[in-house]
C-alpha cells in the first residue's frame, strides 16, 4: 500500500513539475480554446460543415484581399466552409486517436505485464507475437483491412490499436520484470495473494502511470495516421469531413486554390504541436523525477 501511495505522489509531482514550464501553460490554453471551438462549433459558427454552396466556391481565407470573415479559412471546390469542416475533422480525428491510444495502452500493457511477470514460455510466446506484429508495416495492414468496404471509425480504431500495442507491451514488460523482484511483491505473495491479484492490484498501479504520460504523444501520432488514412481513401468516408479527405481533394486544386490544402493543415499542426509539447514536457519531468528517486 505504501508503495502505491508513493506512486500517487510521483504522479502529482510529475504533473506539478510539468505545469511549472510556460510552454506547458501555453499549450494547454491553446488546446482548451480549440477544444471549446470544436465542441461548440454548431452553436458558435453558423456555417454547415457538409452543406454544398456552389455559388460560394473557391473563396479565399480572410487574410487575403478578396476574403471575408464569413469564411475564415475560405471555401473548397463545393463552397463548403473550410474552417467548420476543419473543426469537425479535428473532433473526429481526436476521438479516433484518443480511443485507439487507450485501446493500445490497455492491450499492450496487459500483454506486457503478463509476459514480464510470468516469464518463461508465456514470455517467449507473447514476445514473439509482439515481434511479428512489429514487423508488419502499418500502412499495408491498414489498406488490407480498411481497403475492402466502407471503412468506419470502429475499424480504423481496431487497425490503429493493432499497429500500436507492441511498443506498450515492450515497455511494460521490462517495467514488470524490474518490479516483480521487489520486496512488496514477495510480501504480497507470502501473504497468499494470487498472481492475478498481484498483477492487477499491486504491479499494474505502479508501472502504468509513468507509461501513460508518454501516451499523450501517441494521441498526436494516431491523429496523423487518421489523416493519412483519409488521404489514401481508407479513412472515414465522405461527406464526413476529415483532414485527409480535405487535403487530398484540395490537392487537385493546389496551384490555383492552394488554401484548401494548406490552411486547414495549420489548425491540425497547431493542435498536434500543443499535444506533443505537453507530452514532451511531461516526459522530461517524469525522467527528472524518476532519476531523482
Amino acid at each position: 500500500m505504501n508503495n502505491q501511495n508513493k506512486q500517487k505522489g510521483i504522479f502529482r509531482k510529475i504533473l506539478s513539475d510539468g505545469w511549472k514550464s510556460y510552454e506547458m501553460k501555453i499549450s494547454v490554453t491553446i488546446l482548451l480554446i480549440i477544444l471549446i471551438m470544436t465542441v461548440f462549433s454548431p452553436i458558435l459558427f453558423e456555417n454547415d460543415p457538409v452543406k454544398i454552396n456552389i455559388k460560394d466556391k473557391f473563396l479565399p481565407p480572410f487574410f487575403m484581399e478578396t476574403g471575408s470573415l464569413k469564411y475564415i479559412f475560405g471555401t473548397d471546390q463545393l463552397g463548403r466552409d473550410l474552417f467548420v469542416r476543419s473543426l469537425v475533422g479535428l473532433k473526429n480525428a481526436f476521438i479516433i486517436a484518443f480511443l485507439s491510444t487507450v485501446g493500445m495502452f490497455l492491450l499492450g500493457c496487459l500483454i506486457g505485464i503478463i509476459s514480464g511477470y510470468y516469464g518463461k514460455f508465456t514470455d517467449t510466446v507473447l514476445m514473439r507475437i509482439t515481434d511479428i506484429q512489429m514487423s508488419i508495416p502499418v500502412i499495408i495492414l491498414a489498406i488490407t483491412i480498411l481497403g475492402i468496404s466502407r471503412p468506419n471509425a470502429f475499424l480504423i480504431i481496431i487497425v490503429l490499436v493493432l499497429a500500436g500495442w507492441p511498443v506498450y507491451s515492450r515497455v511494460s514488460r521490462s517495467a514488470a520484470l524490474a518490479e516483480k523482484e521487489k520486496e512488496y511483491v514477495r510480501a504480497a505473495k507470502i501473504l497468499g495473494a494470487s498472481n492475478p491479484r498481484i498483477l492487477f492490484f499491486h504491479i499494474a498501479p505502479v508501472i502504468l502511470p509513468p507509461i501513460a504520460f508518454v501516451s499523450i504523444l501517441d494521441i498526436a501520432r494516431m491523429m496523423i495516421f487518421e489523416a493519412i488514412f483519409g488521404f489514401i481513401g481508407i479513412g472515414v468516408q465522405p461527406p464526413t469531413p476529415t483532414f485527409g479527405t480535405i487535403i487530398s481533394s484540395g490537392s487537385q486544386y493546389l496551384i490555383n486554390y492552394w488554401w484548401i490544402t494548406v490552411v486547414p493543415g495549420f489548425l491540425l499542426v497547431l493542435t498536434l504541436t500543443c499535444l506533443n509539447l505537453i507530452g514532451g514536457v511531461l516526459e522530461r519531468s517524469r525522467n527528472k523525477i524518476l532519476a531523482g528517486n
Partner: protein, 330 residues
Amino acid sequence: MFLFILSFLIRRLAQGALIVFLVTFVIFALLRVIPGDPTRVILGPMASEEVRENAAIELGLNKPIPVQYLSYVKDLSKGDFGKSFIRGKQGGSMGGSQDSKGLDLEHRASVLELILKVLPKTLILAGIGIFFALFISVPIGILAGLKSESFFGKLSLYLSSFLVSLPNIWIALVLILVVSVNAGLLPAFGYKNITYAFLPAIVLAIEICPVLIRAFSVSVTSNLSETFYEIGIVRGISKFNMIFKHIIRNSLIPILNLFGAQLIGMVLGGLFVVEFIFNYPGLGLLAINAVFQRDFPIIQAIAVLASSALVIINIVVDLTASIIDRRLKF
C-alpha cells in the same frame, strides 16, 4: 571470439527465419480471409462465375490456406516469387477491362523483376532521406544532450515537437506548392533522375528527425551522468576529448538499437506514404497499389522482403553494438 559470433549468428538467423515465416503467413492468411476477390480484379466485373472459378482453381486460390502457403513457401525456396496477378510484362495493369476468356499467366510480369526494377529508386530515396535527417539531427541532438538545461535543450524540445507534428501528407503538398510550383526549384512527381528524389527525401527526413534528435540528446545526457565521465575528468582527460572520444561513442549504442527496430520501421512506413503522395515509382507505391488491386504475389513478396530486411538489420545492429561497447555480451 569468432566462435561466439558464429553461434550468435546461427541462433539469431534461426529466430529471424521463424519470424519471417510467421509474418508472411499472417499477411498471407489475412489477404485470403478478408473479403476482396482477386479474380474479380483480374477478370473484370463482366466475367461469368464459371470463368472466375476456373481462374481461382488455376491460381490455387480454392485450396485451404495452409496448403496454399506451403506450396508458396516451396516455390520461395527455389527463388520463385511467382507472377503478378495484375501487372503485364510491359508494366501496365492488365486487370479489369480485359475480355473475360480467362487467365493468361504467361503475359503477367514476374514479381521478382518488378521488385528489382523499383528497389534501387526506393534505396536512393531512403538513403538521401536518412542522410538529410542525420545532417540536421546529429548536431542539434548532441548539443541539446550536452547542455540539456540550456537554450539547446529547449530548442531541441521545440524543434522535435514541431517536426513530429507535421503530417507527411500536408508538409509534402506545402513543399510541392512552395518549392516546385512557386519557386520551380525541384521536380515533384514521378521519377526521371535523382533530383526527383529530393523533395520526397526531405519529407521523409522531417518524419525521422524528431526521433533522432530525442534519441541523441537523451543518450548523451545519460552518458554524462555516468561515473566514467567524472573519473575521466579527474584523471586529467580534457572535457573535449571525453565528449568526442567517449561520450559520443557510447551514445551511439542506443541510437544503433533505435536504428534497428523503430527507425527502420518508421522509414519503411514513411516510404509507403511518401512514395504514394509523390507518385514516386518505388517499392512503397508498388505495395500500396498491389494491396488496392489485391495483387497477392506482390504483397507477399514485399512482406517477405520487408520482414527479412528488418530481421537482418536487427542482427547487424546487435553485432555492431557489441563491437562498439565491449561491455555488452552476445
